[in-house]
Amino acid sequence: MAATEEAVHKIVEQLRFGLLSPQEIRKLSVAEIQTADTYDEDGAPITSGLMDGRLGTLEPRQRCKTCGNTAIRCPGHFGHIELAVPVIHIEFTKIINNLLNSTCRNCGRILLPAERLAKLRTRIVRVKKMLGVVPNELYKKVLDEAKGNECPYCGAVQHKLEFTKPTSFHEMSEEGAQRLTPSMIRERLERIPDDDLELFGFDPKSARPEWMILQVLPVPPVYVRPSITLESGIRSEDDLTHKLVDIIRINQRLKENMEAGAPTLIIQDLSELLQYHVTTYFNNEASGIPPARHRSGRALKTLSQRLKGKEGRFRSNLSGKRVDFSARTVISPDPNLDINEVGVPLEVATKLSMPEKVTEWNIEEMRKLVSNGPSNYPGALYVVRPDGKRIRLEFVVDQAKVAEAIEPGFIVERHLRDGDIAIFNRQPSLHRMSIMAHYVRVLPYKTFRLHLCVCPPYNADFDGDEMNLHIPQSEEAQTEARLLMQVQDQILSPRFGGPIIGAIRDFITSAYLFTRRTTLLTKEEVCRLLLASGYDGPLPEPQVKKPEPLWTGKQIFSLFLPKDFNYTLKATICQGCTKCKEEECEYDAYVVIKDGVLKAGVIDRRSIGAEQSESIFHRIIKDYGTETGREFLNKICQLLKQFTTMRGFTYSHDELELSPAARQKINRTIQKYEDNVAALIEKYRKGTLERLPGQTLEESFEIYALNELAHARDEAGKIADQDFSLENSGIVMTRTGARGSSLNIGQMAACVGQQSVRGKRIMRGYLDRALPHFKPGDSSPKARGFVHSSYQSGLDTVEFFFHAMGGREGLVDTAVRTQQSGYMQRRLINALEHLRVEYDGTVRNSTGEIIQFVYGEDGVDPAKSDHGKAVNVARLVDQIKISVQTRKPADQEYIEKKLKEVETQLTPILVEQLKSQLTKAELGKEAVDQAIHLTVENYKRALVEPGEAVGIVGAQSIGEPGTQMTLRTFHYAGVREQNVTLGLPRLIEIVDARRIPSTPIMTIYLTKEFSKSKEKATEVAREIIATTVEDVAKSVFDDPEKEEVVIELNPALMKERGVSPKELEEALHFPNCEVKIKEKTVRIKPKKAGDRRKLIGKVTDHLIKGVPGIRRVLVSEEKGEWVIRTDGSNLSRVLEIENVDPTRTTTNHVHEIAKTLGIEAARNAIMKEAEGVLEEQGLDVDIRHVMLVADMMTATGEIRQIGRHGISGEKSSVLARAAFEITIPNIVDAVIKGESDPLKGVTENVIVGQAIPIGTGLVDLYMSALVESDAKTKKAE
């Protein structure tokens, strides 16, 4: 392949869009198509028929009549149809309508006076100079403005135009409606002068408006619409050919009729029929017309449908393609592999090939492979001669002869063998670690095999998952795969700057069992373990010498740690005691490694697990490199695998059996809480239950009940969890973080707990009850889905049913979530894909507009960072302290002087950290120098490289965790009574830049004096909450006798809301009404008698006091001060309220922040909100990714959505926009403007099949020409 591939000698630099004029169509055409038939009886194409040989040929061995090439090399040639009458192109109707409405029907000028036009022209020039481009809105404004009854130029009276979909125009003159035929429209459009068109945003050179009316229809070459021969030998034509047949038929009939001088009515009917066929030929889904159908009733797929949507040309064939040299099969695990290996079945290895150049040194080997042929394993599939001729060995009779003939310079496409590089991928490819390079290991059987530690990045399991394998063919591709994509180079995830690859499941269990204090191993066992893990050093001194030598697991584990490694951390099994006993920990949870020896603590998830930052594994990679990291992980995995094999590990049903005492305790606990619920029911029935603010009594009861039952399960689970010892396998797994949680243990052993649907107890089903086994209205735990049993004891029928209901919701939830997060990911990728780091460190889009001046504000690549930090200063100083002997600590002055020297090379934060750490550590001068030097070095090493696709990485890092988020929208924020949208829906809301968040909430801080006490805070809260008449009235009703609206006030409510009668009097004013206030009633009499019902509505919603939009307020204490949280948001007005601290008060309504505090504050708000959501979900995402999204969203000074109405819709590339969404309108728009696609972004280059200008694709050869000013200065020198 590599040799036959022609060298790239031309590059597409630009793509221009425009309309074809009739002349051009005729010029491009090789044949006029006049006959509606395709083939004659012999199956030969009819001349000037739709399959005319001049358009190209479909037969494999025939030659094209135009270019003389065979089917493979002939590009195809257009023909044309001369239409009998002009026809409107359906996709341009809207534009035609706009043009007709804004120009004179007589002279074609814009319906605006000359001065105005001149002004608009200068404005366009000015805006273009200022912004570089002219925004669409400006052109739209011209269109909207140009309206009038009389032409300012020729004085012609203008008539109203009526446009009815799909293609008819009527002019409403005094005589009545008159139809405008396409030819009349065409004449009018022809009259519009070029200069005027430019004001509409047209480029008259590439798109004259009259060309939007077709006189000649181009006929695409046959390759665009190939006919297929069915098995029965019947030819079946393409949808487009069918449509063209219709067009030609009607066209021909129309022509004949016109020549024969048929009545106008018939001509008109036929014209309309022709219009219909041409319309459906372009777009068979246009509104207002029935779609053209195939004989079978299936709607035809015509031009628009071919391009549009997921299965359309853009997304299905241009942005992504099917490839050769790939394989797909089921995956299965193999712990004996290296983490960067992939097991490839023999069958696959004999089908895929790797090109290898024959040289003097490998010629013998290559001969052997060639003579083995394609079917004997180490063999070859093709031989490529230096002249480019390929020999397929399958068809060669005497392979030995070919083998003899090969010489250096030949290329042998040999079978895959061990050590070849391959690219391994599992869909959905949510982040870059979903595609990694592995080394091939040819193995028997039929599945791909991978090491278990690489399951997390692929998100793979072995329940039937399939994966894809690709073999890079060119040297360049192989090298890139080796240098950039290898598994060990992907261990550190750019999402959070920690290892995403690591030990999982049984490896962790095994590590715990292996390294705990009680594990002692005999010499035989030790040898077996060490042999399995490839250790060839000497045995350490045994821990126990008599009666026989015994080694601890910790000792053996230590053998694999780097010799100068020091680290301490708390293991996953750490109980979080209030006072840590450190090395004396009774659980052995305090891990201490000194000089490469595991002194104390057990190894579990926190130390070697996947997705664990700041673990031992993470530290090894950071300090010793990825290669050492890979070896370490490989070896300990082999070791641990061997250990579990020897020891064995099971979890059985009887291990879930609780002690009778615990069983009893659990029953008592559950009983207690059920009694509590019974008491609540009683209270609810009597009406003595306290209502929660903002909730009805029933809702309050449900919240209370749910709360009690949640406690019941939690406590029962806790009892069970505590009843089991650390010898229990389940407990081992949950505590070490290998699998499961204590909740799972609790559900299995103690009590499954409340089942829920939509976050509530189960109440649906029958009237007032969930199942007919219960009395209507029964609100006891059992009747509403509380499962008392445990999985171990088994569920009864009713419980089982409820459990199934809850279970189904879980399934539905997952399905919905994957869809939503998938779409969010697609939008994020599309919006950010073209961002890259330039050589000057800025982040720019494809047109060179700056998005960030320094990536992530400090220029650090999250993948190279230490869990987000540029340099781990504390650890660095610690390490230096150990290694460098200190005599006399350096003084503060010296440290500061040294820091001053490197200030410009570091970020302010790092300087600050260094200062405090160095002062604390009391290092000597030498050590201080070294620490500062290393910090600078490490910082430089952590910087992003030019060309890095920060946009794509950022989008992936936010999109990928989306799948792991909950869909449960509501969550309590601080206060129990307040619900906030969180999780995936909230994240989508943020990137969508929704105008109004679904739960607007403000956090109002108060001035010093008012934040001290609840009373004072409540005082302010009363000023803030919007109080309407409805809130203080007993009732508002109409008094028909006196023709008045009456408000009956409720003094208690007035007091609660803090409304004084005076305030009320001041507030109650209505236009054209008389207001009389008499103690508890207010009478409003409209001056004019009329509809008082409307007035009632107005009165009830009338604001008496407070801030409009604030529905509820809650005063709560946070961090020692009283703050107000509100339901509803109105930032600008709240900031004006007295005693509110305006400097800290915020809202989650991002648009409001943009309006009142500016775009920079909005940027901060977007970051804060998005980070808050991710954090609440426990997802670790580097702030730089969120920052990039926020910067991109606010780059134009207003908040732009991530999607087609925002960033994606404003991309500079036509192709990229068309490929994302709304394909056709984007192309139409580009056409009339004569837009050209500069092909500087990602999607557009993928579409035209060129290297993308990102990463290694950015590297190019430039000629540096002397800039004039430089040249002058040079001369001066």
Partner: protein, 183 residues
């Protein structure tokens, strides 16, 4: 309506003068409740008109201010109010060199808000330096609208570049630049 304490609009005026570095020369309260300030700036004196209440501001106010400006021989004027402006008022103001402060404009120094970083207009030299450093046309920088409260606060005009000093979570301190555009 002689009230002792200052109205919201007056507060806004004070904040605005403080932020833009205008020097107050004179403060008057007219009988119809309107407060006027005369201020001294580097580019000439400005009169600020504070109209209290949330009523809609029509052209008549613009004309009134224009008359005052003419009388006092001043080039520029500013109107501050808590109400809306009519379309006619907006276009009239543009013609007459009167700046309208939107009702959303906060009555406190918004740069003191935790979410708002410092904005400042940069000098011509610095502007040249920045454009040179990044080798860009001004329109290739991120934008900020003139209507942005922070821009209003520093009084930047379309075509200016503002420098923003952010408190960065990753770097500690970070400078961003935005190009002021219409809208």
């Amino acid at each position: 309506m002689p009230k002792k304490e200052s109205t919201i609009e007056e507060k806004k005026a004070e904040v605005l003068m403080h932020l833009r570095g205008y020097k107050k020369i004179d403060q008057k309260r007219l009988p119809d409740g309107i407060t006027t300030y005369t201020t001294k700036t580097k580019t000439g004196d400005i009169i600020i008109y504070c109209i209290p209440g949330q009523g809609t501001i029509g052209v008549q106010y613009i004309n009134k201010l224009k008359k005052v400006m003419k009388d006092e021989n001043l080039e520029r004027g500013i109107i501050i109010t808590s109400g809306r402006y009519t379309q006619a008022a907006k276009s009239a103001a543009r013609k007459r060199g009167i700046e309208l402060i939107p009702r959303m404009f906060p009555a406190f120094n918004l740069f003191e808000h935790v979410m708002v970083p410092k904005h400042e207009i940069i000098s011509d030299e610095e502007r040249q330096m920045i454009l040179q450093k990044y080798k860009v046309q001004p329109y290739q920088l991120p934008y900020i609208h003139v209507s942005d409260p922070a821009v209003k606060a520093v009084g930047a005009k379309p075509g200016d570049i503002v420098k923003i000093t952010r408190n960065s979570q990753t770097a500690g301190k970070y400078f961003a630049y935005r190009y002021v555009v219409e809208g």
